[in-house]
Symmetry: C2
Subunit: 195 residues, 2 copies
């Protein structure tokens, strides 16, 4: 028993692009540049030997084959997503508990101000702290700090936090492994890095 699986990362790029009918919007969802998505999709088409999109000067159209491929692949991804949520559940609707180290919470950062105001998804509960042990003990879901230290066993995302001047401040978002990469954290990352 063995499957015929195309390159799965390319498949993911296809699925997002087809759903949005845009490499640009797909690239936002996948947190990469449009060029990367374009390359991935091209390599998928090459490996299948099948044209999936018609490229228009401004935007995309699915070919007949692409059209029939999309729902099947989306269903499979949904199944994987559900299964994953089932064996490794994440927030289950509660607030995302975000720790923010003092130096970041003190100064006014547009992104953090926005969080503080609330209203965005994911809903968050902010605390000023830099205590990794709270993360480990499950009192906190993620911790935003300036120190680039990535303690072993935890997941760390390095991000560039915009400051009012237009520049950016390097920071690190530390996450418990079971939460890293989940939708809520991905959305938070996007919120934080947006100007």
């Amino acid at each position: 028993m063995s499957y015929r699986l195309p390159p799965l990362n390319s498949l993911r790029a296809f699925e997002a692009s087809a759903r949005h009918l845009s490499f640009k919007r797909a690239s936002d969802e996948l947190c990469v540049t449009p060029g990367a998505v374009s390359q991935q999709v091209k390599s998928l088409e090459a490996s299948l030997g099948v044209q999936l999109f018609r490229r228009l000067p401004r935007g995309l159209l699915l070919t007949a084959k692409g059209e029939s491929y999309l729902p099947l692949i989306s269903n499979a991804f949904r199944a994987i997503s559900d299964a994953t949520e089932h064996v490794a559940p994440t927030l289950k609707g509660r607030l995302l508990r975000v720790g923010i180290s003092r130096p970041l919470s003190g100064r006014r950062h547009p992104a953090i101000e926005r969080l503080r105001r609330g209203g965005d998804w994911p809903r968050t509960k902010l605390t000023t702290t830099d205590d990794l042990s709270k993360l480990i003990d499950g009192k906190l879901d993620v911790l935003l700090r300036t120190s680039p230290q990535s303690p072993p066993g935890l997941h760390a995302d390095r991000i560039a936090l915009p400051v009012p001047s237009g520049a950016a401040l390097p920071a690190t978002l530390v996450t418990l492994p079971g939460l890293a990469g989940c939708r809520e954290v991905r959305a938070l990352l996007r919120l934080l890095t947006r100007a």
Copy 2:
């Protein structure tokens, strides 16, 4: 709409390992070393924050979570596999038409002799030729040659062809893009590289 997808290549390593209950056998199926599979699975477990296997000194056991994850993931992969076969059909049961360039077909190579005798899967039809245009025209499915040239637009796998002395001869298997990576070709690659 967005999914929670773990690293998909790691997921593939998990699925194969769980099905075989062995990194070793999974690595044969995936055509990589056992170490690579071990690493992939470990990184999946880390990213989910969940233990999927119990490692015994000789062999694997699924944990309860692994056990419940496996069938869901297998189904999703089967769905992707079926969908892929549907939009980009490959052989549909007919013989795999293999071209072999004269220098390789002349000398006696254990792997090629085995092919010639037949009996293995995939069933093949061998022809002595080195004519790439036959590939392009669809008269041939794959072409095995000594020249490492990889003509643009075709897929090429570099392989090491065992010779009776125990050494190996570098060769190239050229494939139409739509066929590259399909089960039949993967099996052929395995046959050819086996001593």
